[in-house]
């Protein structure tokens, strides 16, 4: 079953006089349970693609279909609905809210889904257990290490049980040891929960742990290969 399906996906930026074809007519199909790396040189359109897949940005042309829903004609409020219900985000800089504890950060998407407090707390704890951080639940982000912060961010992405988790350079601020640990965690989550992941990365160490690698160049797919 296809989780994400794009057809002729195009994003054009106008910077002054210059036109940039960040994503140029891209066709892509991601199946449920896939574990995917999107790689490519700087400016190849990786992040733009991720933003389009995550409904953070709207395409100039072409379509994105997420979990059977065609998104290119939706209002910004409906796009927010899709982001809330179907997608989990993980960022390079973690983007945890400093005023909230780990649990409260994980609860945040559920809050926007209007889940009741008790249920919110229960599901947040569950998600934190999945990433192995149950004992750090009450800590604020400033009291957590980089690796721990990113695991909280992954718990936040997982807590809504999204169709797709999108990660933009999730190991960009982590050292090797933490990168390995994080990738092991993601591998386990993919295997045990059949959770679909699409990870944009520069790091070959990350890419080699995924099951499929898409290489972008100039907004087009240069190669798309399954990793053994």
């Amino acid at each position: 079953m296809s989780i994400v399906f794009t057809s002729g996906l195009t994003k054009v930026y106008q910077v002054g006089e210059t036109t940039i074809n960040a994503v140029a007519g891209l066709d892509l199909d991601i199946e449920k349970g896939e574990f995917l790396a999107i790689v490519g040189p700087s400016g190849s359109g990786k992040t733009t693609l991720l933003n389009l897949l995550g409904c953070l940005d709207v395409p100039t042309a072409g379509t994105v279909t997420i979990d059977g829903m065609e998104t290119s004609k939706l209002s910004s409020a409906s796009l927010a609905d899709i982001r809330r219900e179907k997608i989990g985000f993980v960022f390079q800089e973690f983007n945890l809210l400093p005023i909230l504890s780990a649990t409260e950060n994980v609860e945040l998407p559920l809050r926007y889904l209007k889940v009741k407090p008790v249920e919110r707390r229960r599901r947040a704890m569950e998600a934190l257990e999945k990433v192995g951080l149950a004992e750090r639940a009450r800590n604020r982000p400033t009291q957590l290490s980089g690796g721990e912060k990113q695991r909280v961010a992954i718990a936040r992405a997982l807590v809504t049980e999204p169709a797709l988790v999108l990660a933009d350079e999730p190991t960009g601020e982590l050292d090797t040891a933490n990168t390995v640990k994080l990738m092991e965690l993601v591998c386990d989550l993919n295997r045990d929960l059949n959770q679909t992941f699409a990870i944009v990365t520069h790091d070959p160490m990350v890419a080699e742990r995924t099951k499929r690698t898409i290489t972008l160049r100039d907004g087009r797919i240069e190669s798309d290969e399954a990793v053994a």
């Binding site: 933003n51 809330r84 989990g88 985000f89 983007n95 809210l97 400093p98 005023i99 945040l108 926007y112």
Partner: protein, 381 residues
Amino acid sequence: MRFITRNMWRRKGRTFLTIFGIVVGIFALTVLGGMTARLNQQVNAMKGLMAGQISVAPAGTDMSNMQGKFVGTSTAREIEKVPGVKGASGLIGVQLKESQGFGQPQMLAGYEVAHGEGFMTEIGTSEGRVLAAGDSGKVVLGSDLATQLKASVGGTVTLKGRPFTVVGILKSTLGPTDSWAFVPYEDALGIFLAENPFIKATGIAQQIVVTPKQGVNAEALAATLKKDFREFKVTSPKEAEKQISQISTIFSAIILGIAFIALFVGGLSVINTMIMSVSERTREIGLKKAIGAKTWTILGEYLAEASVIGLVAGVVGMLFGLLAITGFNRAGHSSNITIFTISATVVVGPVIFATILGAIAGFFPALRAARLNPVDSLKEE
């Protein structure tokens, strides 16, 4: 709510200063509001007293008539010939103290008692009786003045160096007459002439207070008097009420104007704080949008934060204001001066106002926050 207070706590200093800015404004609003409430109380008391009588004064004078122009008591007798007039009483007033200071001016008011008791009957006594004809050397005191002079019916008080026997104490009206002493016309004239030795006239009054007969329309009677006594300024009850209202409106406008300027500045500081908060938290807003917060959800969060700033400032400012009012009133108590009145409006008004002010001031920064594009705001450092 917890998140709001935590966000406010993130920048304690700034939040404190912002709140303080509004506190000052709300403090001013509360204190000056208390003053306005007191003023309105007096105006309303005055309006009630004015309802039944017509004033005839020399042309070119105002209500207080301290311009040194006079009308003869003989004119009062002529007015009494007009059908519908029950009595026309000459009035002469002298300030009891040279320097009145803050609070109600204390007045000695002399009426031609045989021709009308002025406000006395209207107010009514709490003790004793009103003045009657032939009451020379007797006085009826307003309630505040009586308290201040520690006077009781049957006792003697010294006014302007002369002894007067207290025959009555008036009920409290909360109006200016509470600080008046009512004496017979002749006594007041004697004091007045002694104070103004260059005036060599007798039978003079600052104004004539005309009381209509029972069942006679005061406005219609005033219209007749205006025709018959063109050389004088005739003020009907309605006109007097209008004049008093005008004065009180102007005072209220000035007083509240000052408070609103203070609040305007406070409001600007809320706008500034919220703009700063929004720019500081651009990335956070981007994240919230990424995980599915709608535009109006973000708008609501920031509006709530701004409103809470307003609410806290409102409550603190109002409490300080009440404290000051109570303090001033207590300080004025010994001399029986009440400058402030605490009413529900004075207490609740500023708090509601501050909250709304916070929300309005926070609206545009909040809208800016809510409209941020998630892709751009996530890039923000």
